[in-house]
Amino acid sequence: MLAKLMKYEVKATARWFLPLYVSVLLFALINKFTWYGPFMENKFSFTDSSINNPALSGNSFVPVIKGIMSSLFMFIYVMLFVGLFVATLIVVIQRYYKSLLGDEGYLMFTLPVNAWQHILNKLVISALWCLLSSIVGICSILILIPREALQELPYAFARVKEFIGVSGIVIFVLGAVTSLVLGILKIYSAISLGHLFNKYKLLLSFVMYLAIDAITQVVWMLITVFSVNISLNKIDFASMSNLHQVKYVFAALTVLNVVFSAGHFLLTSYLVKRRLNLE
């Protein structure tokens, strides 16, 4: 059942993301061409005061066009890049808010499927799109980076690995992924809580989100303060090396994320199963 839900979830969301991904990558490529390629040898530059600036010679029509074009393309790319993350966030919210708690909820909640399966479905697929969007975003940046800088990347990566070790990378990735999952679940909780009321649901959801966020921050701060002062048999934080401190922090973050995620998941499952109030 869960697999079927996910299949339809992907179908419903892919039609937004795939064109967007293609556009972002396409414009990254276009910009690579227009900024670095031979095409733009002669482009008009507002800031270049050297003797080569075509603006200073009489013949500036084509270079002006080239200049405008390349600025335009860069503008479009930046918009698409920003749009990528905005769209991802909007889709994450919409897929929960509209699809489960809107009219479509009548369809979803009469399927012979558990409430938690619905939530898990949305969570997994939303997380996947977030990851994909990030990857596409990073790829587009990589496309834009000049070749010389790109060649240094493997070395930079090796240095990082040397410094924090494979365990460090694993902890970092775990921390990042669990943070993503928690982030999405916090949104779901906030929406579900806001939905308990009859009016101003969206506004209250937003308020709930701020509240949840604040509570999470407070707990995190308490743990950090606590950690700095503890001196258990096995964990003596103050005397750890900086590196170990960072690793410890990320590990603690991961654990906290998992605990909070579980809590939010249980909360939303309960709310959606027992306190559902579709219009």
Binding site: Y106, L111, R275
Partner: protein, 232 residues
């Protein structure tokens, strides 16, 4: 004969408002039941509870022996009052969707009905008119071989010819093993296909009889009786 739906003292309170108040009903298999009452009488609340879309405050309800949950959803087919299908899907995709999740879905029946109503399965739902969308929803719901059909205002927004078709479909689909509960305002159109009538007022059952009993005892149609009982 078995009862497909049994509820005892079923109540739903919202603060001090009693949407449903101690409803006790036993509905057998193989009946077509009319759930009638003015707006706010509790019809929709009752139907939502049957579908596990609302949790009762008090009392219990069993459908096919189970409390509302996954097991009942497998045997209950629900037609809500509003359009609730994903607009971006094509009709054929919706059929596949239903087929995927409901083992009792009869694909041939669905396509047969679509053909009779001249609806092209390849069109996207959002390009269809409201009336056609409602017909598609009805077809999907009636193509399931469920044990309990819950139809909330099935003929409300449709033209008279389509209304006849829908009533016809309900009769044609009739099975001794299934029960249809229809909640509606358009009583005169639907009276003659009903077996039993339940009048709901302010969340309570004020009448539960067969159509013929009512006509016999009161010498009136259900429609006329309704107007009398619920006079404003």
């Amino acid at each position: 004969m078995n009862n497909i739906l049994e509820c005892e003292n079923l109540s739903k309170y919202y603060g001090s408002t009693k949407a449903l108040d101690s409803v006790t009903l036993n509905i057998p298999e193989g009946r077509i039941v009319g759930l009638l009452g003015p707006n706010g009488s509790g019809k929709t609340t009752f139907i939502k509870i049957c579908n596990d879309l609302l949790t009762p405050t008090k009392g219990r309800i069993r459908i096919g022996g189970f409390e509302p949950g996954i097991e009942t959803k497998k045997i209950v087919s629900y037609l809500p009052e509003k359009t609730y299908l994903n607009n971006w899907m094509k009709v054929s995709e919706l059929i596949n969707f239903f087929k995927d999740f409901y083992t009792d879905f009869n694909t041939d029946k669905a396509y047969d009905m679509l053909n009779k109503l001249k609806i092209d399965a390849n069109t996207r739902l959002k390009t269809l008119s409201k009336g056609t969308k409602e017909k598609v929803q009805l077809i999907l719901v009636m193509s399931r071989e469920a044990k309990l059909y819950l139809l909330d205002e099935p003929i409300g927004g449709v033209d008279p010819a389509a209304r006849d078709y829908i009533l016809d479909t309900i009769i044609k689909n009739y099975s001794e093993n299934a029960t249809v509960i229809i909640s509606t305002h358009l009583i005169s159109d639907i009276e003659k296909i009903l077996d039993d009538i339940i009048f709901l007022k302010d969340g309570q059952v004020i009448l539960s009889k067969t159509v013929d009993e009512i006509r016999d005892e009161s010498g009136k149609s259900i429609d006329a009786l309704f107007r009398e009982v619920f006079r404003c």
